[in-house]
């Protein structure tokens, strides 16, 4: 399949994402310049980590207004899978494509370390093939990763199943010791109501090869690949259709829906 990796000025994990998607996973990858206005021909888009536009003003604030974000918004609207990693997550929040906001880490410093997260929702293209409760080991590297949403918004996204990852210990327990940055309710990643736009602070591309200590991050990209391919194949193969859409084969009569559309 064909991934797009967006490059903002001072994105700095763009090459890492291209490496994993192309060299490690053998996918086609297109580098998308921040001034691009079209994402035609792409199956999924990754907003990589870094310090887009220097993160001056506020992390992600300037990048959220870059020309390419209009195209990303349109791509997301029709159900295209979008993954924001670290700074990419911050940009998606600033762009209003994901709910909530990012505060400075509770420790008030940049923190680069390895953490564990628990998969809280499998209703997204990036977690579809994972198990709920599955524990993944991935690195973090950020100064502003303290996820915040006010009480009412938090209840809404919790109830809607929009919390995708939570910081936990190696055994999957969500504890305050396992929270590296002070995020409310240990939230490490969220999705939009439709589930096709996902943002997370940990770096799956840094945990996609054994030699770097973990392959857990690769599961997110593999899930997206499986999901996209399944959607293409969906009319023909019902079990893949189920994986792709979350629908049981008996419900196939309905028209195909975007990723993450809920069965309610």
């Amino acid at each position: 399949m064909r991934f797009g990796v967006v490059i903002f000025p001072a994105s700095n994990c763009d090459r890492d994402c291209v490496h994993v998607l192309h060299t490690v996973l053998g996918q086609e990858v297109e580098e998308i310049w921040h001034e691009e206005r079209s994402l035609d021909g792409l199956d999924a888009v990754v907003l990589p980590g870094g310090f887009a536009y220097g993160d001056y003003l506020r992390a992600g604030a300037v990048a959220a207004r870059a020309p390419v974000m209009t195209a990303v918004r349109a791509f997301a609207q029709v159900g295209g899978p979008v993954l924001g990693i670290c700074n990419g997550f911050q940009i998606l929040l600033e762009a209003g494509l994901l709910p909530g906001a990012m505060l400075r880490n509770a420790v008030l410093r940049f923190r680069c370390t390895t953490v564990h997260v628990r998969v809280e929702s499998t209703q997204t293209p990036f977690t579809r093939t994972l198990r709920e409760g599955q524990v993944l080991q991935m690195p973090i590297a950020h100064g502003e990763g303290n996820y915040f949403a006010p009480g009412s918004l938090l209840s809404t996204i919790e109830e809607a199943g929009q919390v995708v990852f939570r910081y936990c210990d190696a055994d999957g327990r969500v504890t305050s010791d396992a929270n590296p940055n002070g995020s409310v309710r240990n939230v490490a990643g969220v999705c939009n109501p439709a589930g096709n736009v996902v943002g997370l602070m940990p770096h799956p591309e840094r945990a996609s090869e054994e030699v770097l200590g973990s392959r857990d991050g690769r599961l997110l990209f593999e899930s997206a690949i499986t999901t996209v391919i399944a959607r293409r194949e969906a009319p023909k193969q019902s079990h893949l259709y189920e994986i792709a859409t979350g629908l049981r084969p008996s419900q196939q009569g309905r028209s195909p829906r975007p990723f993450g559309a809920r069965d309610d």
Binding site: R15, G54, R109, F110, R111, C112, A141, E209
Partner: protein, 735 residues
């Protein structure tokens, strides 16, 4: 041209130097020229007092693609690939403005490596502060670490290795030495020699402002107590965002072709870059200063010529390629302006507003006079070689004290503030092994290992031996991860070289590095000298810092420093007897910096390293760690804490029990390995004539260290691992 009305002293020049300028020009310099000579002939730019001595350092290597004299050294690593690396100090600016001083130090060294045409892939930082219970030192430490983090994290270059030392000998004069390593193809090596009359001279990157004017001259003065307030205008402000754009745009521009030479703008700004590029190429340059993009209206020519605004580079570009180069920089949001051209004949001519402002031979500026300062062994040196009779400390208490010493303690509190994983190369992260290991997917399964080492305390007590020990220690650290030394870059931090005792110490240290490098066949491919590190308390501890780069055959076989399995056998490899002279134990536990450090037997050392390196690359070892500060007891404790597995060992006896536990010597290692590999290791060691002793095994969650032949109760350390770990994590409370 107006003749100088400034006194030479006001720009940091002596009367003799002024006469030399007159001799070279055949006339009096103008005021502007005098200012330019002032910065170019400062110690920082001109290496006046160090040049002769630095010629002692060997650069020979069959892998050498570029030695000293360019912006960074370049060495072949096979497969058509090469690494460029260089270390530089930013001590004076960091003392005055810790955050910005350190940040711009990072930016500057990155541009040095970039100007060789290399993509920067790693940073190494070596930091020295006054005691961390001193509020000023602590504030400087926090600011410097935050500055390095702010710059390195944003530009996306991982900081993977380094040092942190606290000692009263650095009070008021922190040392900030940063190295950068870059990767490039052989054919892409860029150089800084101006060539081809008619080629365009382009200034690219950030605009030129009024910051940092006279920074180089300031870096060549001793700091006094008012420095922090008065000198702030001499400190440049970094913009890592622009720095990142400059990296990408410059690599794009070099790839596209038409760029003939590259030089970064650092100390002395345009003055230095233009005169050095022209002098290196034996060419001249004609500059039109009004074409320099400036940050504010009304900047005077001297301000434009001397500004040290960051994130700028000077390119020599073929005339037909200037528009393409400009477009490349524009795409990255940066400016690229043609500010002049290369001319035949040795003259650097500067025009402003259409009128000629000055014209002089570039080499007159770029080649500062060379001095052979007088040298005298410090009067008190030999007296300090007498070691007082140390009382025996409680071993358990001494171990905890040593583990909590900043030089030994876990640096997690520091390196967690640095992105050490970006670029997905980091296989052995900081803190996990004796050196950082980066994989090279370009040359898989090969990798690079990086380490920084220096010991001001040892160098102070014996500069020749201290410097040799630093080289030996760096190579030992590389061996622990399975790497063979490729080359090194050094940062030489000393006081005022006009003091004969300081200069003697400097020359002894350089001789020590040179001898060690010749014996071990390690080329010195570049480096930096920082003199005048003096505060009202006197000169800084003389501190040569070595950043050594090594290559690994297979990164998947590399080895960490922490124990990996319970019931492994623990082995001590030792080619020298531990000694308390000049030891960390004497310093940290007894408060005594005395004794003559033992010299390193480089032949025995080389053989020891071969054993460790081969054992790692054969995949026999679970862990490898060299015994340095705090000796064998500290090394065993660190391996246990890092691996969260206890140990029970009995160390060989020495002259005293505390010497057996905490005595130091080069060429000693603590290894752990499965029992069935022990005979393999013993055979390998026998081949190289290196003594190996089985000293115990890994087990449980306590650390028990006894000394052979000593009564149990008096000599034994028996502590729960948690207790040691909390001492080892002491920096978390401080930084």
């Amino acid at each position: 041209m107006t003749t100088a009305t400034l006194a030479p002293e006001s720009v940091g020049l002596t009367r003799d130097e002024y006469e030399e300028i007159r001799r070279r020009l055949g006339r009096d310099p103008s005021q502007l020229e005098l200012q330019m000579f002032g910065v170019m002939w400062s110690e920082h730019c001109g290496y006046k007092h160090s040049k002769v001595t630095l010629q002692l350092l060997p650069a020979e290597s069959p892998r050498l693609l570029q030695g000293p004299g360019e912006n960074a050294g370049v060495l072949d690593i096979g497969g058509g690939w090469a690494v460029a690396f260089k270390m530089e100090s930013h001590n004076h600016p960091s003392a005055v403005d810790p955050f910005n001083g350190a940040a711009t130090g990072v930016g500057g060294i990155i541009r040095d490596v970039l100007s060789m045409g290399a993509r920067p892939i790693a940073l190494v930082d070596s930091l020295r502060f006054g005691p961390l219970d001193d509020p000023t030192s602590r504030r400087q430490a926090a600011g410097i670490i935050a500055g390095i983090a702010a710059y390195g994290n944003c530009v996306g270059i991982p900081t993977v290795a380094g040092e942190l030392v606290a000692h009263p000998g650095y009070r008021g004069t922190p040392l900030v030495n940063v190295a950068c390593v870059g990767l490039l193809r052989h054919g892409d090596v860029a150089r800084s020699r101006a060539a081809g009359p008619g080629n365009a001279v382009m200034l690219v990157g950030a605009r030129t402002g009024r910051d940092g004017i006279g920074g180089a001259a300031f870096a060549s003065e001793e700091l006094d107590t008012g420095s922090e307030r008065e000198d702030r205008a001499s400190v440049q402000i970094g913009d890592p965002f622009a720095g990142k754009l400059l990296i990408e745009a410059t690599l794009d521009a070099l790839r596209a072709g038409g760029v003939i030479a590259v030089q970064d703008l650092g100390a002395a700004g345009l003055t230095c870059a233009t005169s050095e590029m022209a002098a290196r190429g034996g060419m001249g340059m004609r500059l039109e200063l009004e074409r320099v993009p400036v940050r504010e209206e009304g900047m005077r020519p001297d301000e434009i010529l001397l500004s040290e605004s960051q994130e700028r580079m000077l390119l020599v570009v073929a005339p037909g390629a200037t528009e393409r180069v400009a477009e490349t920089y524009r795409r990255w949001g940066l400016r690229a302006a043609v500010i002049g051209d290369v001319v035949a004949g040795p003259s650097l001519t500067v025009h402003f507003g259409g009128a000629p402002l000055m014209s002089l031979p570039p080499y007159a500026l770029a080649e500062a006079p060379v001095y052979r300062p007088s040298a005298r062994e410090p009067a008190t040196l030999r007296a300090r070689w007498t070691m007082p009779d140390l009382p025996m400390a409680d071993p358990a208490k001494a171990l905890r004290t040593l583990l909590a010493t900043p030089a030994v303690a876990h640096k997690r509190a520091v390196y967690e503030q640095y992105d050490h994983m970006v670029q997905v190369r980091t296989v052995v992260a900081p803190g996990a092994g004796d050196a950082a290991v980066l994989r090279l997917p370009e040359l898989s399964p090969h990798g690079l290992a990086l380490v920084a080492d220096g010991d001001g305390r040892l160098t102070d007590l014996d500069p020749y031996r201290g410097a040799r020990r630093a080289v030996a220690e760096a190579a030992a650290n590389l061996a622990c991860v399975g790497a063979t030394p490729l080359g090194l870059t050094d940062c030489l931090n000393f006081g005022n070289p006009e003091h004969p005792e300081v200069f003697w110490t400097f020359r002894q240290a350089v001789t020590g590095i040179a001898d060690a490098c010749r014996a071990m066949r390690i080329p010195v491919v570049g480096g930096n000298v920082s003199f005048y590190n003096e505060s009202p308390d006197g000169p800084v501890l003389p501190t040569p810092v070595i950043t050594m780069v090594g290559v690994l055959e297979d990164v998947s076989r590399t080895c960490g420093a922490g124990f990996r399995e319970a019931e492994d056998i623990i082995v001590l490899i030792s080619a020298a007897d531990p000694d308390l002279a000049a030891s960390s134990y004497a310093s940290a536990v007894h408060g005594i910096d005395a004794g003559r450090p033992a010299d390193v037997d480089l032949d025995a050392h080389q053989r020891t390293l071969a054993v460790v390196r081969e054992a790692v690359m054969c995949g026999w070892l679970s862990s490898a760690h060299d015994c340095s500060d705090g000796g064998a007891a500290v090394a065993v404790a660190e391996s246990a804490i890092l691996g969260t597995i206890g140990a029970d060992v009995t160390l060989p006896a020495a002259a005293r029990t505390d010497a057996a536990l905490f005595g130091e010597a080069p060429s000693r290692f603590i290894l752990s390995l499965p029992e069935h590999r022990v005979s393999d290791l013993q055979t390998l060691a026998a081949v190289h004539g290196v003594p190996v002793a089985v000293i115990g095994s890994t087990r449980g969650d306590r650390l028990r260290i006894a000394v052979n032949g000593q009564r149990e109760s008096a000599s034994t350390i028996d502590l729960p691992l948690d207790e040691l770990a909390s001492a080892y994590e002491s920096l978390a409370e401080i930084l």
